[in-house]
């Protein structure tokens, strides 16, 4: 038992929490936790209203399986959202659509009257539904506090709760004058509520299953003793299944078209990829919700069997029965969450429709044309604020005077069926080019008439009358013929109304010639993927219009600064000179888009029409132009692809060219070096030869020295020439490696032998460190000996007397690593890479007098590369380390 005051305080705290979340989310828009797809997916759960929370449980306890279609219908449709909703989101984004009415009416020629009709339909369907939520809030409030319902509005706590909700919605729902803007604050609050209502029902479910009863099977065992249990948990034959299926279809369309679903799924979609998360997450959410309905409903029946209680409120009555105030209040808050999230989103989206599709286009456009931006913005948001209050009050009145007697379930389903009347026009907009305005409107009106007489009159007429009278009676008798005996009333009316609606829509559409403007939008809707990049090009308009006139209109709504910014962006996008005076079709569509979010698409069109003069175009012309522009788009795409290919090609060519130039320069350098290298010994030989030839009186020992010089220099010459030829062969892959399994340490020893006397001469200490697990590796032994000798020879040259050379063998992963370290002068850092170049040494003759061909390291590098390894030099401590890395297994044994 809880006092009214305490519960009201709890509600206030809860609402304050929502305000806080909305406030934080508005402030931290870019933060990741706000931008994640689960917020979007959770906000879709605005679908689960008080009807789910209380009504479904009532249905499950009394009507059996009929509680399921409300959830089965959506899950059948949701996977297809990947196609349907993605396209609707795109269409809405490029056209700045801000409500269901805009979406449908824009497709049918941007018609003001159609958007007004849709708005009225939504009002008729949704206002009672909002009333239903208020009813749930009020009834559960009194149930929890165990106070009687108050007849006086001013003393009814529900009144104040509802007013607070209205304040919340009107504050956060109208923050942006552009209604197509995303309302992150509201959506985050809704997502939180969706989470909480699920969480609370899980708590209740667990409470019922494990506290009130002894587990799920206990409930099941006991409940199955009810005589009607079996019947309630099977279809009542083919008739039951038929009803069940039609109900699935009703809710399947509702999940796409209900204004609050359209608002959360389409208008508030920030990223297309969020839809993907929703596709699996939302059915999961519904599944968890639904699983608990069964035990709560049957548990409730077991507890309250024979007592006169409303099964719709089992979820509150059960914890109350066990005197558990905490869970009672949590369940109440869960129900409150589901009610107020529905009220908030519905009120916001309806207020946008009322302002943008009803009040502004039919009353205030003339006034707006004369006002400035500040006043217009204020007026527009005020209209929406008042609409929200008006709607909530209207719904409140509805609850007070009409639906007190009826159940949650029936009012909800009736509103689904009325909304479903929009389905032919809605899905036609997405898939059918030829659907026409007249067909859609007439079909819709006919469907509504059937709903009115079939559902609304019987629902509310009997609130005040006990039986049909007079004309009404005659009429119902006349239509007796159409009674489908195996369907209950709601599926029956759904069937007839949708049949007539769709029939009229399709037949009238194909029997009349289409309108060019309508067809224009039809093409844009159906082929949205083709036009998405430059949708302004897809808008066809011919006539005379001046930029200055349109700009004047824009400024009245956007203000001077924003208008100029927008125009600058437009000019950049389409590469238009800012001095251009006449406006083309693209600019007209662009301007309409700028206004659309503020005053609705139809009003935007009317305003722009007022300052431009359009020439008539025939439908045929429109189709031709569209065909052309479609071709252009594909052609453009192809051109872009081709030019990209060309660009790639020219890049390849220029890089190849650069390589060639480098190669050429290298060749020149190489030739220079070769000439230089060859000249040195030749000069020596020649001068020795000259002296020997000129002077016969040279002493024998000097003569011998000269002759020896000639021999060594000739040897060096042939060494250089051999090396050059060898290197050339290596580079051209003319030397095949004979890869065999060899012992690396033995190979090293073989390489060391011929030079050991040199080492001893210089008194150098040479040592090996062996960290190998295995000794057998694959390589070409002769080349490896050559490699070792080259590196060691190089090391010898640069090691001072009494220095150290240390060779370390190790393994890492699949590589054999050989490090040869020698003490001596460091290599200048910038030269570390260059020492493997041919004749590196010769360019740095100031460092050291050349000995050897200067090709040793270049050859070493080639040899290592031929073994698919690499070699590098680095300065380490007191000397230089050469690191050779070789793969243990060589697959490519050919020299490149």
């Amino acid at each position: 038992m809880m006092s009214s005051f305490a519960l009201f305080a709890v509600v206030l705290v809860y609402l304050a929490l929502l305000f806080l979340v909305a406030h934080l989310a508005e402030k931290k828009k870019s933060k990741i936790w706000i931008n994640n797809p689960y917020i979007y997916a959770l906000s879709l759960a605005v679908y689960c209203t008080a009807w789910t929370y209380y009504g479904s449980i009532g249905v499950a306890a009394t009507g059996g399986l009929n509680y399921l279609p409300i959830y089965i219908g959506p899950i059948m449709v949701i996977p297809a959202w990947i196609y349907i909703n993605t396209r609707i989101v795109r269409i809405s984004r490029v056209n700045k659509i801000s409500s269901l009415a805009d979406f449908i009416s824009l497709r049918y020629g941007n018609s003001r009257s159609f958007s007004a009709i849709i708005t009225l339909v939504c009002l008729f369907a949704i206002v009672p539904y909002i009333g239903l939520q208020i009813k749930a809030i009020s009834e559960t409030f009194h149930l929890v506090t165990e106070t009687p319902m108050s007849k006086n509005i001013l003393t009814d706590n529900a009144t104040f709760v509802v007013l607070l909700i209205a304040v919340f919605s009107s504050y956060y729902g109208t923050k942006y004058v552009d209604a197509s803007e995303k309302r992150l604050g509201i959506i985050s609050a809704i997502a939180l509520e969706s989470f909480l209502k699920l969480f609370f029902i899980i708590i209740l479910g667990l409470f019922v299953i494990y506290f009130a009863f002894d587990g799920f099977s206990d409930i099941y065992q006991k409940a199955s003793k009810f005589p009607d249990f079996k019947a309630k948990n099977t279809f009542n034959g083919i008739e039951g299944a038929m009803n069940w299926m039609v109900l699935c279809m009703i809710s399947g369309t509702a999940i796409c078209i209900l204004p609050r679903q359209f608002h959360t799924a389409i208008i508030e979609n920030r990223q297309e990829k969020h839809i993907k998360t929703a596709i699996w997450f939302f059915p999961l959410y519904l599944l968890i919700f639904t699983i608990f309905i069964f035990p709560i409903a049957w548990g409730g029946r077991l507890i309250f069997e024979g007592q006169n209680v409303n099964p719709e409120f089992y979820s509150i009555l059960i914890p109350q029965h066990f005197n558990n105030t905490l869970i009672t209040v949590l369940v109440f808050l869960g129900g409150l969450s589901s009610s107020i999230s529905m009220i908030i989103i519905s009120a916001i989206t309806l207020s946008i429709m009322v302002s943008n599709n009803l009040i502004i286009p039919y009353g205030l456009l003339g006034k707006f044309k004369a006002e400035n931006e500040v006043r217009n913005t204020r007026n527009i948001t005020n209209i929406r604020k008042f609409s929200i209050f008006g709607l909530v009050i209207l719904a409140f009145g509805f609850y007070k005077y009409f639906i007190l007697k009826t159940s949650l379930d029936s009012v909800g389903l009736i509103s689904f069926v009325i909304i479903a009347q929009l389905a032919p026009a809605f899905f036609g907009a997405l898939f059918w080019r030829r659907g026409s305005y007249k067909g859609a409107v007439i079909g819709l009106l006919a469907g509504l008439v059937i709903c009115y007489f079939g559902l609304i009159i019987p629902q509310y007429y009997f609130s005040y009358n006990s039986e049909l009278k007079g004309v009404l009676r005659d009429m119902y008798d006349a239509f007796q013929f159409f009674d489908i005996y195996f369907l209950t009333r709601i599926p029956e009316i759904f069937f007839w109304s949708i049949l007539v609606n769709t029939g009229l829509f399709t037949i009238l559409s194909v029997s009349m010639k289409g309108d060019y403007r309508e067809r224009n939008f039809a093409e844009l809707y159906v082929d949205i993927d083709k036009y998405i990049q430059n949708h302004e090009n897809a808008f066809i308009w011919r006539g005379t219009a001046y930029v200055s006139d349109i700009k004047n209109i824009l400024e009245r709504f956007l203000g001077k600064k924003k208008t100029e910014q927008a125009m600058r962006i437009f000019n950049i996008k389409y590469n238009i000179d800012s001095q251009t005076e006449t406006a083309d079709s693209r600019f007209i569509k662009f301007s309409e888009n700028l206004l659309a979010g503020r005053i609705g698409t139809a009003s935007a069109k009317i305003l722009i029409e007022g300052v431009t003069k359009e020439d008539k175009i025939s439908l045929k012309e429109v189709l031709n132009i569209l065909e052309e522009s479609k071709e252009n788009i594909t052609l453009n795409k192809k051109l872009i692809e081709k030019s990209e290919e060309l660009k790639q090609l020219s890049n390849d060519l220029s890089s190849a060219n650069e390589n060639l130039i480098i190669k050429d320069r290298q060749k020149d350098d190489f030739l220079d070096s070769v000439a230089h290298e060859l000249r040195t010994p030749i000069t020596a030989i020649r001068s020795a030869g000259e002296i020997l030839a000129d002077d016969d009186d040279i002493p024998l020992d000097i003569k011998r020295e000269f002759l020896n010089n000639i021999i060594t220099e000739s040897d060096r010459l042939s060494e250089i020439i051999n090396d050059i030829l060898y290197l050339d062969k290596l580079q051209h892959g003319e030397i095949a490696l004979t890869i065999e399994q060899n012992n690396i340490v033995e190979t090293y020893k073989k390489a060391l032998n011929p030079i050991s006397h040199l080492i001893q001469q210089k008194n150098i200490h040479i040592s090996e460190v062996d960290l190998l697990n295995q000794y057998i590796f694959e390589y070409d032994e002769a080349r490896m000996i050559q490699l070792f000798q080259n590196i060691l020879g190089n090391a010898l040259k640069f090691t001072d007397e009494k220095g150290t050379i240390q060779t370390k063998f190790s393994e890492k992963d699949d590589f054999l690593i050989i490090k040869i370290f020698n003490t001596g002068k460091n290599i200048p850092e910038e030269d570390l890479e260059m020492i493997f170049d041919k004749f590196y040494q010769s360019k740095n003759q100031n460092i050291r007098k050349p000995t050897g061909s200067g090709l040793g390291l270049a050859i070493s590098k080639r040899l290592v590369e031929a073994h698919s390894g690499n070699i590098k030099a680095e300065n380490s401590g007191l000397g230089v380390t050469f690191t050779i890395t070789l793969p243990k297994k060589i697959y490519n044994n050919e020299v490149e």
């Binding site: 399986l65 089965i72 899950i75 059948m76 996977p79 099977s217 099941y220 299926m245 990049q533 927008a566």
Partner: protein
């Protein structure tokens, strides 16, 4: 500023969120569910018999439901671009 900049800047956001072929897998799943819950098929499970101790039709409905969640989850995660 925001309200018209994003109108122009969505260009880099236009690419398909999924390949057509994988998109169609989900649409086929949708049709599959339609068939699974349609009259001839769902009536097959409309019996008073019990499976795992629960009414057959309930087990069937929730199993199909669960399966559809798993299938769509797998398709979406596997072909995420």
């Amino acid at each position: 500023m925001n309200d018209f900049v994003h109108q122009l800047s969505f260009i880099n956001n236009h690419s398909l969120i999924m390949k057509k072929r994988h998109e169609q897998k989900l649409i086929i799943l949708s049709f599959g569910l339609l068939i699974a819950f349609s009259i001839p098929v769902s009536l097959l499970f409309n019996s008073e018999k019990e499976v795992f101790g629960y009414p057959m039709i309930l087990v069937y409905v929730f199993a199909v439901w669960m399966l559809s969640i798993i299938v769509s989850f797998v398709i979406i995660k596997k072909y995420d671009e």
